[in-house]
Amino acid sequence: MPDILQIRGLDAFYGSFQALFATSLTVAEEEIVAVIGANGAGKSTLLRSIAGWLGSAPDQILFDGEPIGGQRAENIAMRGVVMVPEGRRIFPSLTVEENLMMGAYVRRPGSWDLERVYELFPVLGERRTTPGTRLSGGQQQMLAIGRGLMANPRVLLLDEISLGLAPIAVKELYRVIPTLREEGMAVLLVEQDVRQATATADRIYCLLRGRVSLEAPASQVDHSELIAAYFGVREE
C-alpha cells in the first residue's frame, strides 16, 4: 500500500520551545500506526502539527503526496485528515446528536452517517438528545470518535483516547479500530499504554524527547529495545 501520510523532518515549536526535532514518520493506506512515548516526548505535538493546530513548513507534512504542512486546521479537515483531540473536547452546548452532526459539517462523501455511528456505539443513539458533556468519560470518548468518523476521514488521528478511562471502557474503544481499517481508513494513534498500542497497531514509533527513537512492526517489537527507546536508557 502506498503512503497516505508522510512526515518528513518535522520541527515543531511552542513559542521558543522546540517540541519535535526533524521527526519523520509514514502511514500507509489502511494501516494502523501507533506512536508511543513518555509524557512530553512530543506525541500530541506531532498530531497537533498534522491537524493544523500547530504551524509547520509545507513539505514537512505530505498527504497523498501533496504538501499540507502549515495549512489551516479547517482545510486539513476538509481534505480528510481528521483529529480526535486529546481530552475529547465535546461541545457542551450541543446534544450528542448535534455533536455528531458537527463532525459532518464539511459533508465529505463516504459511508459514515448518524445511523452507522449509532450502530457502532449504540449508547450514543440511546442518549442522542442528552447534552454531550453529560455522558460518562468513556461515552464522551465514543462521541468524540464518532464525531471524527462523521467526517468520513481518510486518515483518523486519535490522541490518547484511553486517557483517564477505566480499562473496560478502553477495551470497548479499541474494539472498533480494526474495523476502521476495513473501511479503507488509515489510523495514526498516540497512546501511553504500550501494551494497548502494540496489540492494536501494525507498526509503532517510539518518541523520545522530540525524536523518533524506535520504529518497528508491532509484532516484532523487542522488549529491551523498546524500554531503551521509551526511557532513553539501556537495561543492564
Partner: protein
C-alpha cells in the same frame, strides 16, 4: 402606574432587539462591540435615506435595511474585526470604539446634529385596547410582537440550523470546531451579519418611536448591555425578560419623576449584577 408598567413591557421588546445582536457577537466572537449602539443609530439614518428616496412607510423598508446592515456586518467582520481576534480582549475593544467614533462623526458630517424622526403615519397614532381597560399605542404594541417574533426566529435559527449549530460550537470551542472543517472566519462573518440584521430592525423601530441624532448611540449601547446582563447570556428569552425588566424600571422611575427614568434602570441593573452576576437566566460560569 399600570400604564407605566405596560409601556415599560412594550419598550422592553425594543431593548431585547438591541441586546440580541450584542449578545450574539459576544457569544460567538467574544467581542465586546462598543459600536453596537451606533449601528442602531446608523440603521435609523439609513432608513431615513431610503424613506426619503422612495417615500415608503419606514416599517416597509425594514426588510431592505436589515439586509443592507447584514451585508455590512459580514464585510465589517471579514474586513476588519477578524484581524483583531486572537490577541486578547483589548484590540477588538479599541477597534470597535474607533468604529463608534467614526460612525458618529460621519453621521454628524452628513446629516448634521439636528434631530431627525421617521414618520410611520397612522400606525403611530392609533391605539389598541387590551383587557383591564388598558389602551396602548398600536405601534409600541406591534413592535413588541415584532420583537418576540424576531427573537423566536433567532432562537429557531440558532437552535435548529446548521449555521446555528456552528455558532454554538464555535462559541464553545473554536479550536475544536476548526477540526470539523468549520471556517471560523466565515462563521464570525455570518454571526455579525445576523447580529446587525436584528440590530437594524431595532434601529428602524427606534427611529419611528423617538427622535434621534448622531450622538444617541452610546446610551443605546448601555441599555443593550444592561439588558444582556439582567437577562443573562445564553438565553434569548432571558434577553427578552431582561429588556422588559429594564423597560419597566425606566418607565416606573419616570412615573415618579422624569429624572428618575435612567437612574431607576441603572439601579435595577446594579441590583441584578450584585445579586446574580450571571443574570437571571444565564448559564452560570463553569
Amino acid at each position: 402606574m399600570t400604564d407605566a408598567i405596560v409601556q415599560g413591557i412594550l419598550l422592553g421588546g425594543l431593548y431585547a432587539l438591541f441586546a440580541a445582536g450584542l449578545a450574539i457577537v459576544f457569544g460567538v466572537m467574544k467581542i465586546v462591540n462598543l459600536a453596537h449602539g451606533d449601528f442602531i443609530i446608523l440603521a435609523a439614518y439609513l432608513t431615513l435615506v431610503v424613506v426619503d428616496l422612495t417615500s415608503l412607510n419606514p416599517m416597509v423598508t425594514v426588510v431592505v435595511i436589515a439586509a443592507v446592515m447584514g451585508l455590512f456586518g459580514y464585510a465589517l467582520q471579514r474586513g476588519i474585526l477578524n484581524f483583531t481576534l486572537g490577541s486578547g480582549i483589548l484590540s477588538p475593544l479599541v477597534v470597535t470604539f474607533g468604529i463608534s467614533i467614526i460612525i458618529q462623526n460621519v453621521l454628524l458630517e452628513v446629516f448634521s446634529a439636528d434631530t431627525q424622526g421617521l414618520d410611520a403615519g397612522a400606525l403611530e397614532l392609533s391605539s389598541v385596547s387590551l383587557p383591564f381597560g388598558i389602551a396602548v399605542g398600536w405601534f409600541p404594541f406591534l413592535t413588541f410582537l415584532l420583537s418576540v417574533a424576531v427573537l423566536g426566529g433567532l432562537q429557531l435559527v440558532i437552535g435548529h440550523t446548521k449555521m446555528g449549530r456552528s455558532f454554538r460550537a464555535v462559541s464553545d470551542d473554536e479550536e475544536t470546531a476548526r477540526l470539523m472543517g468549520v471556517r471560523t472566519r466565515h462563521v464570525f462573518g455570518l454571526a455579525m451579519a445576523i447580529a446587525l440584521l436584528v440590530t437594524a430592525i431595532g434601529g428602524v423601530v427606534l427611529g419611528i418611536r423617538t427622535q434621534f441624532d448622531p450622538a444617541l448611540g452610546p446610551a443605546r449601547l448601555i441599555y443593550a448591555f444592561e439588558t444582556v446582563i439582567i437577562g443573562g447570556l445564553g438565553s434569548l428569552w432571558g434577553t427578552l425578560i431582561g429588556g422588559v425588566i429594564l423597560g419597566v424600571a425606566q418607565n416606573v422611575g419616570a412615573y415618579f419623576s422624569p429624572g428618575w427614568r435612567e437612574l431607576a434602570g441603572h439601579l435595577v441593573f446594579l441590583i441584578v449584577l450584585a445579586w446574580r452576576p450571571s443574570g437571571l437566566f444565564g448559564r452560570s460560569a463553569e
